[in-house]
């Protein structure tokens, strides 16, 4: 194995989109070239990112492809990157979705095309950076860096109330991450390092002074930042606005990747740094997650707007992830990670499908449609496939994750499992009902009769998503055998905690 390639791999994957964006700055305003170039860059990044799972040492805990260089001496900031089984797949998810976003924005973005693709590529760099950063400072840096391109994507290319949605999105997440910054600074002041691994070791060995007093607050500081991002009920109100107003590519990345930053953060930092506090706070977090699952589903049910419906369904699905994470069981965490990936693919695809319809009719109102299966049979098939994947039909990707989460939650406490399981039923209700209203029956509006079916480009964007949804449902081990050891090492201190409690 060539180590030089391995250590520079993450840097390459992270910064190739940024380099592409900088090159785009120099491009003349010929929209076709710009689109093509963005596609090539994002595809190149995807191919490179496949290096990670291919050469990943499965069954091995700890971080791989690590790179650790000194960046700033004072404060002691390192350029420390690395991935474990969880973050590796999230990186691949990001690089997988970005080319699809480029494809889906091909025609729908016709003004200020150059700026759009620059923002998209910058956003990609920031997103990947969040998942690979192992230095808390670097993590915070990328975390905040995702905000600006996303807010601009919503605010410039969105629909009518875009400015409101963009500002709300920005302020919500900005304010919340301030608390995380304060917690990071506290940790730095006491340990003298931002390095995740060193801080974790220092906490476990009890070398941090005043830690027991401050830990509950530190836990909350991190948790609030992540909870807003996920979003956990009751911090969710920015999400429907942001989604409804965002352009399709923005929604895809928002639901597909940005929300996972929150759940990833909980898994990595809340559980990784503060196991005891995670344990003691788990009960109310689980309750919030359950409320999120049921509430999100119920609200989704009554939405007249297709995109809003999908947005609320995200709240519901992300509730499963939180439920799985705070069950502290192997299956629960495996499942949570799997739901993150599956939700990224299927909800990303749902937003693409909604966007395709919007391009044709300029509305997301479900009532405007009906009987679309007649004029758009291929589209209807794709839609059904993705809806079934999202609902959690066995053999498709949604099922595996939700099943694992629920069995983990059952093991933790049966009532959590039972309540969570209703969420699966709800999601079948609202998604299938929406599908029925849009696609079945007679064509109610004659405008809809003339709608063209999917073009080659749109199919090219949907096929990969559909294929991955199927493979993830049939061969989950491909993913899980990398996720498993990572989750085990997260859970190791919890086993000690449990034995300590039994020992008492």
């Amino acid at each position: 194995m060539s180590t030089a390639l391995d250590t520079s791999m993450l840097t390459l994957i992270t910064f190739i989109p940024l380099a592409g964006a900088l090159l785009l700055l120099l491009f003349p305003r010929r929209d076709r070239d710009i689109r093509l170039f963005a596609l090539v860059v994002s595809l190149l990044d995807f191919v490179l990112s496949l290096h990670l799972p291919v050469h990943f040492q499965r069954g091995q805990a700890g971080f791989q492809y690590e790179v650790n260089n000194l960046w700033v001496t004072n404060p002691n900031i390192h350029y420390h990157m690395g991935v474990d089984g969880v973050s590796m797949w999230l990186v691949v998810l990001t690089t997988f979705l970005t080319p699809l976003c480029v494809l889906i924005s091909w025609k729908s973005i016709h003004e200020r095309v150059k700026e759009f693709f620059i923002l998209l590529l910058v956003l990609q760099t920031a997103l990947i950076g969040v998942f690979v950063a192992l230095d808390l400072f670097l993590f915070y840096f990328f975390w905040e860096a995702t905000l600006i391109p996303m807010a601009l994507l919503i605010g410039i290319y969105g629909h009518e109330r875009r400015v409101y949605a963009a500002v709300k999105f920005f302020l919500y997440t900005m304010v919340a991450s301030m608390f995380m910054l304060a917690a990071i600074l506290w940790l730095y002041a006491k340990t003298g390092t931002f390095d995740f691994v060193s801080i974790q070791a220092a906490i476990r060995n009890g070398q941090v002074e005043n830690f027991t007093g401050a830990a509950p607050w530190l836990f909350l500081g991190f948790f609030v930042a992540f909870a807003v991002k996920v979003p956990v009920f009751p911090f969710h109100t920015w999400l429907p606005d942001a989604h409804v107003e965002a352009p399709t590519a923005g929604s895809v990345l928002l639901a597909g990747v940005l929300l996972k930053m929150g759940t990833y953060g909980m898994l990595r930092f809340n559980l990784g740094l503060f196991p005891e506090q995670s344990r003691s706070n788990a009960s109310w977090i689980m309750v919030l997650a359950l409320i999120g699952i049921v509430y999100g589903a119920l609200v989704a049910m009554v939405q007249p707007n297709m995109k809003k419906l999908i947005a609320y369904s995200s709240i519901s699905h992300l509730g499963f992830v939180v439920l799985g994470i705070f069950s502290f069981t192997q299956t629960g965490l495996d499942g949570a990670t799997y739901v993150m990936l599956a939700h990224g693919v299927s909800t990303g695809a749902l937003f693409m499908l909604a966007g395709i319809l919007y391009e044709r009719r300029h509305t997301y109102e479900i009532a405007e449609f009906g009987g679309l299966a007649t004029p758009m049979p291929v589209y209807a098939t794709f839609f059904l496939f993705i809806v079934l994947a999202s609902v959690g039909l066995p053999l498709l990707n949604g099922f595996i994750g939700e099943f694992l989460v629920l069995s983990g939650a059952f093991r933790d406490r049966a009532v959590y499992g039972i309540l969570g399981a209703t969420g699966v039923i709800w999601s079948a209700c609202y998604l299938l009902w929406m599908y029925q209203r849009v696609f079945y029956g007679k064509v109610t509006d004659s405008v809809n009769l003339a709608l063209p079916d999917l073009s080659g480009r749109e199919r090219a964007a949907l096929w990969p998503a559909a294929a991955v949804a199927l493979v993830m449902g049939v061969a989950p081990l491909l993913w899980l055998n990398a996720i498993d050891p990572a989750v085990q090492s997260v859970l190791a201190p919890f086993a000690q905690l449990a034995s300590k409690m039994v020992g008492r």
Binding site: P75, F141, V163, A182, L185, A189
Partner: protein, 488 residues
Amino acid sequence: MSSANDIAQVIPQAADYVRILPEIVLAIFGMVVMVLDPLMDERRSQRMLGIIALVGALAALVATLFQSQYPGLGFWNMVRVDSFSVFFHFLIAAVTAVVILASYEYMEVQKIRAGEYYALVLFGALGMSLMSSAVELVLIFIALEISSISTYILAGFRRRAAISSESSVKYFLLGSFATAFFLYGVALMFGATGSTSITVIGDALRSERIPILAYVGVAFMFVGLGFKVAAAPFHVWTPDVYEGAPSPVVGFMSTAPKAAVFAVLLRIMFEADAPGRLWLIWVVAALSMTLGNIGALVQDNVKRLLAYSSIAHAGYLLVAFAALPNNGIPAAMFYTASYAAMNVGAFAVISHIGGEGERFVTLEDYEGLGRRSPLLAAILTIFLLSLIGIPITGGFFAKFYVFSAALQANLVGLVIIGVLNSAVASYYYLRLIVVMYMREAREEVPVSPIPLGLGAALAISVAATIYLGVLPGRVLDYAARTAAEWAR
């Protein structure tokens, strides 16, 4: 024999002159500009005098670099060249150069005869430089006066605009008041300790019994200097003065004199380590951050908005003072530098967009700037993001160092106030970004192409902002040397 010694004691040596070399350079160039101004044809003089002034500022930069090789005391222990003074000299000279570059076009557009203007900028820079190296209170006072009087006049330089004269008079009256406070403090200090030398005062204050007069003296000096840096509750003049003064001048006086006054404050506060000092600074810092940010929320005039923002930033900076002497000194120095970079740049953009008579300074005038002039909008966005404190800009590390220094000094309450304030602040900076990018363009506001001088000024400011945001290490390490040099 003894007479020769006496003469040697009253005649400055070559080393003494090296210790004030940048000031000498600035004075010479300032006078050259003054003398040449009436001799030259008015149309040609603009450009020529500007270039001379620019060369003067750059020569001061070079002189500072030269001077940094010869650290030590000079002029009978009245000035001290150390890495601290070199840092601020460099900063002030650089800001001066950028301001002069940004003023070329402004002076032409506003049809202002510029000879005196450039001379005053150089004289102001002289006073500020001297403030950062003086270690004797009377000399500090004189330097403060040189710098203040230049800025009073500069604030009124749009002679045809009533608002500019108002700004100048207001600034002058309140500023004189503040200087009087400072002088009063100096007198009390002299009464209490029998000296005006900062080091002697410091030694006296470290002795066991501290006369009560000394407390009052420090408080008075703090009030006077607090006025100059626009810290609440001494901030009321700021919005009016900033609104009326010419934009490049605002860029100048919100950064360079502030940096100089903060340098003086750092020297005084470091030595005058009196109890009660902490709470004084604590309250003023918390007030400045809060009042500044809340005031900025409702502003529709961009210059007033940035005026309130500068009050808030003075507050953030004072947080570092509260954390003295731990890591407060380098944090404060870094903050002044990065604040200078972003604020000078922001005002350069504002002065360009303002147009003749500075007509276009409301938020509405910035609508759709992202479409009309993508480059200017992008540059202003970088500065605004830095003012918010977003990573990879200097503003981020500046806030970061300040807050972490405060945390190490266990000022958790102040840090919480500061962090909440930066969250509030992001709203009004963001408002400007939103207006630029997410509103339809207003055609009646013309945007002319960026001229060479302004382009250079903006390039320098952007480069400095990003540099401080990506590789803050070298600047901070340099600033940290001060703490080591001062520790005794």
